[in-house]
Symmetry: C2
DNA sequence: TAATTACAGACAAACACAGTCTGTAATATC
DNA sequence: GATATTACAGACTGTGTTTGTCTGTAATTA
């Protein structure tokens, strides 16, 4: 369970999408200005969110990005996983008798974190602001 | 809250120390063979454990390493922190209105994980094996 | 004094991450 | 159908972190 800068961007981007829901497509350039990131870099993050089916994109003149998944159904975990992938972090390489026990405790710990992130919706953030 | 390879080594090393408690000092070379790491690299990890007061070292002919902290009082978190330091991972860099809310949820999630790791003792691993 | 041990710090290789650049594909408007 | 506008794909670079090695130094015992 990593938490890179890109993930941090993604969380803020999704919060913004939820806030803007119902309005026109958001296109890359304005979004980049608002987020204060370079458009090309932002593009890479958005593409990952598209592939995870959290947002959708339409090319062409009035194209851009918009929410795809219902705004109340998007958890923090969804967003994080969209960026980080399901990279197995806690993998065991040791071949000792106690190895799997150590690994298990680490996995349990991670699961506690993951469960928390699955319960929290990005929509909650928007609610707290209004 | 990182979990590097060095941390993984440290967990296994400490489990081994707990298992061997009461016996003579463990010196670098045999420990390295048992762990299947190079002695010099192992040395760096052990030194960090020494600085964290989890083990103690004595140089000289019959020297080596042995447990310092009581074996039932060593948590997973103690060991992880000895290696990773208290590196603040979830830091917020965005200057948006909802920034701190996102940060808070991430910190809460990490705390869930950390609490789990504080509750689990490395001694539990040894118990499960006997 | 000599052997044995741990310790310190510089060093290099490998990898991951952040961010850029260039070109391509799809859609709408005229 | 041509053109402008949009997103998409992939190579590329720079930087920082991690892993691991090498060399030499300090402390303790025999």
């Amino acid at each position: 369970m990593k938490y890179t800068k890109a993930t941090n961007y993604a969380l803020h981007i999704m919060a913004y999408f939820v806030k803007q829901e119902g309005k026109d497509n958001l296109s890359l350039q304005p979004l980049a200005s608002h987020m204060n990131i370079s458009p090309t870099y932002l593009s890479k993050i958005l593409t990952q969110l598209v592939k995870a089916n959290l947002i959708q994109s339409t090319p062409g003149v009035n194209g851009g990005y918009s929410l795809k998944k219902p705004k109340t159904e998007i958890s923090f975990y969804d967003i994080i996983q969209a960026i980080e992938g399901s990279g197995a972090l806690f993998t065991c390489e040791m071949n000792e008798s106690h190895a799997c026990h150590i690994e298990k405790i680490m996995k349990d710990a991670e699961e506690k974190m993951v469960n928390h992130l699955k319960e929290k919706r990005i929509y909650d953030i928007v609610l707290k602001m209004s």
